[in-house]
């Protein structure tokens, strides 16, 4: 992808020109949209769940699937270079997990003394 440019002085420049338009394929957006709506519907059925843990699993399970669908298909990450996977999913998840894990013993496990003002 190297294009030959010349300036006023007639000197040759070789400028790397990245392709601006996309190189990736297109999944069937209608299907994905439909799936997303169905998943939204499922996550609203939480009231039918017998136990709180099941509700949490259902709600976050659907949320993660929805997010994965959006990232992979709408944002076309599925077609992208591995570097983008690492930096946008891997690193972010690692950071957030580290953050959560490092703070966990200091908040849920500690009760504050709430005195009136």
């Amino acid at each position: 992808m190297y294009k030959k440019n010349t300036d006023e002085n007639g000197l040759g420049h070789e400028v790397p020109v990245p392709k601006e338009m996309d190189y990736h394929g297109h999944p069937n957006y209608n299907m994905i949209y439909l799936t997303l709506i169905v998943l939204l519907g499922i996550s609203l059925l939480g009231d039918l769940m017998p136990a709180k843990s099941l509700l949490i699993a259902l709600v976050f399970g659907t949320a993660i699937i929805k997010a994965a669908l959006v990232i992979r298909n709408f944002m076309h990450l599925k077609y992208e270079n591995l570097f983008l996977w690492i930096i946008s999913i891997g690193a972010v998840l690692f950071i957030l997990l580290a953050f959560f894990w490092g703070m966990y013993p200091d908040f849920p496990l500690v009760k504050l003394e709430l005195a009136p003002k």
């Binding site: 500690v110 504050l112 003394e113 709430l114």
Partner: protein, 229 residues
């Protein structure tokens, strides 16, 4: 000039001090070796016109061996240090002594320490607790006893610092943090606030007064009598 660390009066302070000398040994050793390795080539490989430098680029284990050896020594020192300090950490921070002799509350506020002694019933957090709340007051504790302290703060973060005990702990609003110490040498020592807490942070000083048991009991009964009045 006197010794490097201030006088130690607590039972576990000696372990902290010996940890200091262990780390210092490693640090001085590592520093001496590195500085020597830094300075020697400056003389040995001084610039000579026309001479070519060696082509060693640090590729492969053989060329990297000194770097890896250095890292290994570093790692060994690190792990020895972590191993050496861990029991002290467990003793000072993670556990409390089995026998609890005296329990007292230290509360930080802007800008003095409030000391709460248990009342005549020897229990804290009851109506007869004696609260000493004034500037430059002192915390009296008996010598040779396991003293448990509850550390609290009212307004902002403070940090209670007994430098002769080698103990420091932040006091956080909303939390009660429990630590302990056992001091052996009677005397009067300083307590400082080590976390910036506002304008008069520098004046936030109290004293730790370590007394023999009978003297301490006399102090307590005087305190109770004062409260009765």
């Amino acid at each position: 000039m006197k010794q490097i660390l201030p006088e130690n009066i607590s039972t576990y302070g000696g372990e902290v001090d010996s940890l200091f000398f262990t780390i210092t040994l490693f640090v001085v050793l590592a520093f001496a070796i590195s500085i020597a390795a830094l300075i020697i080539p400056l003389f040995r490989y001084r610039y000579k016109e026309g001479r070519k430098s060696s082509r060693v680029r640090g590729i492969g284990m053989k060329q990297m061996r000194w770097v890896f050896a250095g890292m290994l020594v570093m790692a060994l020192c690190d792990f020895y240090m972590l191993y050496a300090e861990h029991s002290t950490w467990v003793k000072m921070e993670e556990t409390l002594p089995e026998q609890e002799d005296f329990h007292v509350v230290i509360t930080g506020r802007q800008w003095n320490w409030i000391f709460t002694y248990p009342g005549p019933d020897n229990k804290l957090y009851t109506a007869d607790d004696v609260i000493v709340n004034r500037m430059n007051s002192s915390l009296h504790v008996p010598a040779g006893k396991n003293i448990i302290i509850d550390i609290k703060a009212i307004d902002v973060i403070h940090s209670v610092f007994f430098k002769n005990i080698r103990l420091k702990q932040d006091a956080i609003p909303g939390r009660t943090i429990t630590r302990w110490f056992n001091v052996t040498k009677p005397g009067k020592y300083e307590i400082a606030c080590a976390e910036i807490c506002g304008v008069l942070h520098s004046k936030m000083r109290s004293y730790l007064v370590v007394q023999e048991e009978d003297e301490f009991n006399r102090f307590l009964s005087e305190l109770y009598a004062e409260k009765q009045k």
